[in-house]
């Protein structure tokens, strides 16, 4: 085979905890075969070596939360052929999007000794609100098998096998007993995007939605079912308001329960 240039992969970090990048490092067995096929050109978490763009595949972690990042993401887009966002921060704004529900200035004055040094945006927003994104991989953190699948699919020029249906389908395929029906444990599985393999229900816990909303989430009826299990309005606000708080269906649903609390 003629010696072809290996595709160049870059990993970019925005506002995030680095957990999703670590999932890539965590791919141990797969990482070496990956480096045979691909040049890891920019991966701050793993190496300081930086190769100049353009890049064939960019993995973007983190949300946009500062004016500087809002500029930088456009440079990343320009330097990338395919751009895939990874994790709840990059696809939904992350836990830091909790600021979107209140005035961020109030936070800053409580948290920082010298608020004047802080240059931040009012909202933490997903990457897709700023640039065109080719594929969004969800999860907080992402599932490493899904990451390998996305990268393999990219290398082979095919569609990734990442389905947007409910967690329940994964739960049932693995033969787990439904915690909602059999134990009365509230579970967000029916409105949550698959990808984790139904990890929590398999350990007898309810899903708490870390992969964000599924393709057609009926959060209204999900909440009604939780209320029948005795869950209070304030807890319904909390459950939708975590890593994917700013993902539209969860955002609106938590707002509904918030206004119910205020109504008394």
């Amino acid at each position: 085979m003629a010696k072809k240039q290996k595709p160049k992969l870059a990993v970019w970090k925005f506002a995030s905890c680095d957990g999703c990048q670590l999932s890539l490092l965590d791919c141990e067995d797969q990482l070496l075969p990956l480096t045979e096929r691909i040049d890891i050109a920019n991966f701050p978490e793993a190496s300081r070596a930086v190769v100049k763009g353009p890049y064939d595949l960019s993995l973007v972690e983190g949300s946009i939360s500062t004016p500087h990042d809002a500029e930088r993401i456009h440079q990343v887009r320009r330097a990338s052929k395919f751009l895939v966002t990874i994790g709840a921060c990059a696809t939904a704004g992350g836990i830091q999007a909790l600021r979107n529900f209140i005035d961020v200035k109030d936070f800053i004055s409580i948290v920082y000794a010298t608020p004047a040094y802080i240059d931040t945006l009012k909202k933490s927003t997903p990457i897709a609100e700023h640039i065109r994104v080719d594929f969004e991989l969800r999860g907080c953190p992402i599932n490493k098998e899904q990451l390998v699948e996305v990268v393999s699919a990219f290398l082979q020029g095919r569609k990734p096998n990442v389905r947007p249906h409910s967690v329940c389908m994964e739960c049932k395929r693995r033969g787990a007993v439904c915690v909602m029906v059999a134990h009365g444990t509230p579970c967000l599985g029916p409105v949550t995007h698959a990808g984790c393999g139904a990890l929590c229900p398999a350990y007898h816990r309810g899903c708490y939605g870390c992969f964000g909303p599924m393709e057609t989430p009926n959060t209204r009826e999900m909440s009604a079912a939780w209320e029948r299990l005795g869950v209070k309005q304030k807890d319904l606000v909390q459950i939708y308001r975590s890593f994917n708080a700013y993902a539209e269906p969860f955002y609106s649903e938590s707002r509904i329960h918030e206004s119910k609390i205020h109504q008394g």
Partner: protein
């Protein structure tokens, strides 16, 4: 409703040896001797699969002996709830069907169909070898026998036969159990699918728990079943025992938690494509697909091709899919069933109407699983009842495109 059971599947298995017993023979087996049956199956190389208590439910799993069965347990089922409860006796089969069905083994949730490896400029395909492990299913209820017969039609009777399903089916030995107690969501009587096992089994047990005695009335359904039955330490059934077994099944038939009127059901659904009830149920449905995952007759799958990072190896996997997902009806340009209304209607109309045109039977056997395991308690029997009623409010009658997307 009439289910033509696929007895032909049963015929070639087992050698027709000179057994003293004939198909149809009834024998009495003491409760304590059930392990002799399991022993006889193990000796013939069968892996035993049967009910076991796990995660607060009765599931189907690998079992080794009668000690692994859910002795003294029962279940309480309603729309969207399932709870285990202790019984007042030590019955081994004193519960209805749980979250698992036998399709988990016969038509597994994920299976590899073939794999391919790069060989220089070409590649080599290796087909998946059919599984020839002999498997005994212990405790198959009548509704599930009907469900297996339905899946036989789907996978074996058409132009294309599924070789992996066929091998598993041919190596299965079925020990049916006649229900002595119906669950809160059962309606097999309405569907003509139970509670007594009529065909499609090798052996059928009826469990009788009396204050002083625990025994089984065992019926041989095939030659192989009769051959094994002849080896067990049973005896001829006495009239009293036979009557007790019949009473047990008759009482289950009286206890059905649900009822469905199936009169002209196919026409009913075909004529009520625009019934406002579809909007009502769609508003409640989570499109989570639990109903299709637990249904013992739902057979739909997707295929996923996976490749390794080096591009040297590829595999094709078949996985359970559901008509409740958007991808399921995706064709170029989008999903044909974009709304939950279109998806719920598709599912229920397939089960109760189009299935007749496609396979000559109902697609529902009345097992009640979709009612129990729906997180929001949507109930197929209630939906049929509602559709039978005249539309309440004609102005809410939906208009949509020809696929029902409104």
């Amino acid at each position: 409703m009439n289910f033509p059971l696929n007895r032909a599947m049963m015929a070639p298995r087992g050698s027709v040896t000179e057994t003293a017993l004939k198909v149809g023979t009834l024998r009495m087996l003491e409760g304590a001797s059930l392990d002799r049956l399991f022993g006889a199956l193990s000796k013939r190389g069968y892996r035993l699969l049967g009910p076991a208590v796990r995660e607060g439910a009765i599931v189907f799993d690998e079992i080794n002996s009668a000690a692994d069965l859910p002795a003294g347990w029962t279940d309480e089922q309603e729309g969207g709830t399932y709870r285990l409860k202790k019984r007042s006796d030590d019955a081994l089969f004193g519960y209805a069907v749980g979250p698992h069905s036998w399709k988990k083994f016969l038509h597994p949730p994920a299976e590899r169909l073939w794999q391919a490896d790069r060989k220089g400029k070409t590649f080599e395909v290796t087909e998946e070898k059919p599984d020839t492990q002999k498997t005994a299913f212990i405790g198959v209820r009548s509704c599930d026998l009907h469900a297996i017969a339905i899946q036989d039609k789907v996978f074996l009777n058409g132009y294309y036969v599924d070789p992996l399903y066929k091998a598993r089916r041919e190596h299965a030995f079925i020990v049916a159990v006649n229900c002595g107690q119906a669950g809160g969501t059962c309606f097999c009587v309405s569907m003509g699918a139970g509670p007594k096992a009529a065909a499609g089994f090798d052996l059928a047990l009826t469990e009788v728990c009396e204050p002083e005695r625990h025994y089984f009335v065992v019926e041989a359904g095939t030659d192989l079943g009769a051959e094994i039955l002849a080896e067990l330490p049973g005896r001829e059934v006495e009239g009293r025992e036979k009557a007790a077994a019949e009473d047990t099944v008759a009482s289950a038939a009286q206890q059905m938690g649900r009822y469905m009127d199936t009169t002209n059901i196919k026409e009913l659904l075909y004529q009520n494509y625009a019934h406002p009830r579809w909007d009502t149920v769609a508003a409640r449905c989570l499109t989570c697909a639990n109903c299709t995952m637990v249904c013992p007759t739902c057979f739909c799958t997707t295929v996923e091709d996976v490749t390794d990072l080096q591009g040297e190896h590829a595999e094709r996997w078949q996985k359970w899919d559901s008509c409740f997902t958007k991808d399921f009806s995706y064709i170029h340009g989008g999903s044909i069933r974009a709304t939950s209304k279109a998806r719920y209607r598709q599912w229920m109309t397939h089960k109760l109407a189009t299935w007749f045109d496609q396979f000559g039977t109902s697609g529902c056997v009345g097992c009640g699983r979709c009612i129990t395991w729906c997180p929001v308690a949507i109930d197929i029997t209630e939906e049929v009842r509602a559709i039978r009623q005249a539309p309440q409010s004609p102005k809410s009658s939906p208009v949509g495109d020809k696929y029902g997307n409104s």
